[in-house]
């Protein structure tokens, strides 16, 4: 059953807002998404009925909170097909990627190679650059094919020359293109190399299963999939988790501590020091329920329709579109520039019509520069966006001729 965005919208009170005299059009979903009533109510219910510490105290309230927390944890792990003990809660994708980079730094020696791509978000470039710099390794940055996905020939060549870690994003937050992650993981593993995946833009928008994609680690953020800010997920394969050092030390991640030494807790708790973001986990589980109910296939299909409609309406005489240009090559987001107008001004112009987009280097400066720009404007969709909203966008953008 295809998704009906009008029904969905009833669950998102913010979409009723009027901004600058126009009803809000929220096209900045790749940055962060709106939250349905179901998520907010789950958090509220937790606070008003079960709030307690978890995994520590012997009392009924704490057991009930722990039970909710562990159920939520299982649900979130299940959402990506992971084992419960392979999922670590983080603040966001950025923290997750920093954690893997630090955790795997033991594999990097003088001369070791980490391969990544020109497409990366800063969060998947800077942590690796730091690690290789510290360890005397080398970062190889592969380019793109003509279709604006990662250059597989270059990847293969780099892997053949020897490499410890291959890391890349799944869906580009600038281009909207989808990298061939199954081939990447197969290729990496064939060459005895680990495959780390930045799934910030894919897990929220399409069916995703770690058993199929087979990354050794992958990270994503709750706030980009209807969940709260402050909660993210890092999946790491069990055998790797067993061998790496914890990132943060403190309460909750140790079995026992003496004045001289300590014994770490089992995985995954060993990697979650201090009081966790309990409400974040509970909110994210409610978001997962919501996404499940709608169906990830349906969301992907809906976003495709929106992109197609958007592309049909854009006036190519004044708009430069980045990426492959054909609707079926994009996930639910697209970047562009209006010739001669800075994207911040484009965003401002659309804002006057109540349409929220993102502009700038999108935390992917090397990629934006490789596209020959210093900044771009980006439209990014989610399940509550409608074809009518796309029409409003296209109408509004036509008026920008005034500025050109």
């Amino acid at each position: 059953m295809p998704l009906d965005p009008y029904t969905v919208r009833e669950d998102f009170p913010i979409l009723k807002r009027v901004i600058n005299g126009k009803s809000l059009v929220y096209f900045n979903n790749a940055a962060t998404t709106q939250k349905p009533i179901q998520v907010v109510e789950a958090i509220k219910d937790y606070y008003y009925n079960y709030n307690s510490d978890v995994l520590r105290s012997v009392n009924t309230l704490s057991s009930q909170a722990t039970d909710l927390y562990m159920k939520a944890r299982r649900k979130i792990a299940g959402f990506i097909g992971a084992g419960e003990d392979e999922v670590i809660f983080t603040r966001n994708t950025t923290e997750g990627l920093n954690m893997v980079a630090e955790a795997l730094s033991g594999r990097i020696r003088i001369g070791s190679v980490v391969v990544t791509s020109i497409m990366e978000h800063h969060s998947n470039l800077l942590p690796w650059r730091r690690i290789v710099a510290r360890k005397g390794g080398r970062l190889t940055i592969v380019g793109m094919n003509r279709d604006f996905t990662i250059d597989m020939d270059m990847v293969e060549k780099s892997l053949e020359e020897g490499c410890e870690i291959l890391t890349t994003l799944h869906i580009s937050n600038v281009l909207g293109t989808v990298n061939p992650v199954r081939e990447l993981s197969k290729l990496a593993h064939k060459h005895g190399c680990l495959f780390i995946l930045d799934a910030a833009q894919s897990v929220p928008h399409m069916p995703f299963n770690v058993k199929e994609v087979d990354p050794d680690a992958t990270a994503f953020s709750g706030h980009k999939m209807l969940g709260p800010t402050g909660i993210g997920v890092l999946y790491v394969k069990r055998n790797i988790l067993e061998e790496v050092e914890p990132f943060l030390l403190g309460g909750g991640m140790v079995k026992t501590v003496t004045l001289e030494t300590q014994v770490y807790e089992d995985i995954p708790f060993r990697f979650e020091a201090g009081t966790p973001n309990i409400e974040g986990v509970i909110g994210l589980a409610a978001a997962v329920d919501y996404l499940h109910k709608i169906g990830l296939e349906n969301i992907a299909e809906h976003e495709s329709k929106l992109v197609k409609h958007l592309l049909e309406g854009l006036d190519r005489s004044i708009v430069e579109i980045y990426g492959p240009g054909e609707a079926d090559k994009y996930a639910g987001l697209l970047s562009f520039n209006v010739k001669g107008v800075h994207p911040h001004d484009v965003a401002q112009f659309l804002d006057a019509d109540g349409i929220m987009i993102r502009s700038g280097a999108l935390c992917a400066e090397p990629l934006v520069n490789a596209l020959g720009a210093s900044a771009v404007a980006r439209v990014s969709f989610y399940l509550y966006n409608t074809l009518e909203e796309v029409d409003r966008f296209n109408e509004s953008l036509k008026k920008i001729r005034l500025l050109v």
Partner: protein, 127 residues
């Protein structure tokens, strides 16, 4: 057997009577396997001793700095697996222990009750 937990001080008292000095508490000097674990709810320390003959469990004892529930559970588990094979012991489930206390995994004492089984499974891992 059967203690409903989460309810009455009386239940705790009954439990106490039976497990104040629990059976199987103590050390096996020439044990084949000794394993100590602490629970992450920050408190229970449990050390278990196993005497094997081939794959058969001849004796089990434990020492602890642990609560009533953990001690009771260790004591009952020791009775349960003595004379069994390692394989049979590995088939004991958390639910089997929880049932003895008339409770489930939502109990505040869940972790205390299952700790002995976790120690046992870790001890026999790979045997």
């Amino acid at each position: 057997m059967g203690w409903r937990i989460k309810v009455e001080p009386r239940d705790l008292r009954d439990l106490l009577k039976r497990f104040k000095n629990p059976a199987n508490y103590g050390v096996i000097e020439n044990a084949d396997i000794v394993l100590e674990e602490t629970d992450y709810s920050c408190g229970d320390k449990l050390r278990m001793f196993f005497k094997l003959e081939g794959k058969r469990i001849m004796d089990v004892k434990f020492t602890s700095e642990a609560c009533l529930f953990c001690n009771a559970s260790a004591s009952l588990l020791a009775d349960l697996v003595k004379g069994k094979t390692v394989e049979e012991a590995l088939n004991v489930k958390e639910e089997d222990l929880l049932r003895l206390f008339n409770t489930d995994s939502k109990s505040p004492r869940y972790r205390c009750i299952v700790l002995p089984l976790r120690v046992l499974k870790k001890a026999f891992q790979g045997l």
